[in-house]
Amino acid sequence: MWKYIAKRLLSLLPVLLGITLLVFVLLHLIPGDPAVVLSGERATPEQVEALRQQLGLNRPLPLQYLAFLEKLIRFDFGTSIISGIPIADEIKNRWPATFELSVAAMLIAITLGIPAGIFAAVRKNSWLDNLLMSGSLIGVSLPVYWLGLLLIYLFAVNLQLLPPSGRISVETGFNFKPITNFYVLDSLFRFDIANLKDVLVHLILPALTLGTIPLAIIARITRSAMLEVLLQDYIRTAKAKGVPRYLVIFQHALKNALLPISTTIGLQFGNLLGGAILTETIFSWPGIGSWIYEGILARDYPVVQGGVVFVSVTFVLINLLVDISYALFDPRIQYK
């Protein structure tokens, strides 16, 4: 197993190098002098020159790339043109918000998607199956930002049941001192139930929005995985032996269908990080996604660059974890 993990980690190196190389090249493809672009519109020629020296933009490109890599290894992504704050600090502050939202979205997707897929498989070709699968097809066709806007209009503006934006109410947030920046965990650590309730209420709409596509995909994968397992001989044997129906479904079939489902869950979790840009923008969620969006609007290239590199590397690492867990669950899978 350790050999497999080591080999898998080694195979990751060229991909990680490729990501950084691509982002580096893209930044140098911006029309015009990178120093002028990076200094912002109001910079004086002296400031532009100072930045050129500071970033080493007068050196040959391969050397610049090596310097860029060296900084990345030290978690130095540069500073934002607009705010002047180091990008690494922004990532540390904002990452917990994105991670918390992604976990909440995934929990919704799993708790609704797996039962939906099981019901659809067990009642194959019934009206329930058709309804659930039509729903999942619509789910994968929906623009998440549109769904978010509709949910805000319905639940926050019309029914006034849930807050439209943010991670915490202004009045609660005023007295709230985060420890880890994971607000749910922080509320639990402090045994602050009122705070926890406020944080959870703020999570519902963005998590539902972000979780819709994974929910639809998990439901479809669960259905097809269950259908395949339900046709196996050992299921027929279990039924013939008189094992109760719910035991056949949940203990015999679901257990073996879980492998493709868990892989999909892992891959979807990685995809959530990309989807978070649109969802966080709609809900003013102070995570990495909305920060990249603000960077795009302000043409703050170091922010976009830092955000893209960080999210992509995280995405690759999550996919690696999925691969490793896949091999852990199923010993037949070996690295070749």
């Binding site: 066709s141 929906l142 649109l278 709609i282 795009i296």
Partner: protein, 276 residues
């Protein structure tokens, strides 16, 4: 059973085909049925009117008819979806054919490129490309197209790897046919069915991604109507909360377009590639 019969038995395929034809016809005929000049279209006296008998989908903040905007916006979104998938398909197909047929060093390089492109969450890669090339419809087409490339490389390469070992290819090679002839006359036709299925499904994804970039302000620039940009305008101006029709209809038609291609793709997959 032949593919056409199988397709006609698929309900989702039939619904998808009807919807796709309707969407394509409506989009193609827009300039004939309802000539429109986005540059001059505004009437401040009619700002933010809810749906009524004259303006079925209501009007937006500039007093423009949302039905007309959605109609032309769908045309734009569809054009972006079709061109970007075409771009991804052509480049991915050529690289996949080369990697699968010639193998060796070139396959390793193309494989590395594919792995890198797949290592980015797709919308993020598209954002990175458009941020660099500047917001415009052309940039969106290129960005969404690039995101599609690795999918076609992988699909084509895997098919070529099995086809190149088939007897008919070995026989053609033994008869002295050139690699170009073998690839384009003998291997390519056998790879088309799964590629057509994938391309149809990709049009839905590409339309969704293009609208997403439009929503982030990276797509069509004013006054060109585009569905994602319409949603972005409604969101930024706050009309999505006070005048929900400015949001409902553009989003509904993005969903409908994506759904049509997803249904058609599902139907085509069942008929052309029943093993999957």
């Amino acid at each position: 059973m032949n593919p056409l019969k199988r397709f006609l038995q698929s309900t989702s395929g039939k619904i998808g085909l009807i919807l796709t034809i309707a969407i394509l016809l409506i989009s193609l005929l827009a300039p004939i049925l309802h000539p429109y000049d986005p540059a001059t279209d505004r009437n401040y006296l009619l700002r933010l009117k809810p749906p009524n008998s004259e303006h079925w989908f209501g009007t937006d903040g500039l007093g423009r008819d949302i039905l007309v905007l959605v109609w032309y916006g769908m045309r734009t979104s569809l054009t972006v979806g079709l061109i970007s998938v075409g771009l991804g398909l052509i480049v991915g197909l050529i690289l996949g054919l080369i990697a699968g047929y010639f193998r060796g060093y070139i396959e390793t390089v193309i494989g590395w490129l594919t792995d890198i492109l797949l290592a980015f969450p797709s919308i993020l890669l598209a954002i990175a490309i458009v941020t660099v090339s500047g917001p415009s419809l052309q940039s969106v087409m290129i960005a969404v197209g690039v995101v599609q490339i690795p999918i076609y490389i992988r699909l084509t390469r895997s098919m070529v790897l099995s086809l190149r070992e088939q007897e008919f290819v070995i026989a053609t090679k033994a008869l002295g046919a050139s690699p170009t002839r073998i690839i384009f006359n003998h291997i390519l036709p056998s790879t088309l069915s799964p590629l057509v299925v994938q391309a149809t499904l990709s049009i839905g994804t590409a339309t969704l991604e293009a609208a997403g970039l439009g929503f982030l302000g990276l797509g069509a620039q004013p006054p060109t109507p585009e569905l994602g940009t319409m949603l972005s305008d409604a969101f930024k101006s706050g009309y999505s909360l006070s005048s929900p029709w400015t949001t409902i209809f553009p989003g509904l038609f993005i969903t409908l377009t994506v759904l049509a291609f997803n249904l058609l793709g599902d139907g085509l997959r069942d008929s052309l590639d029943p093993r999957s």
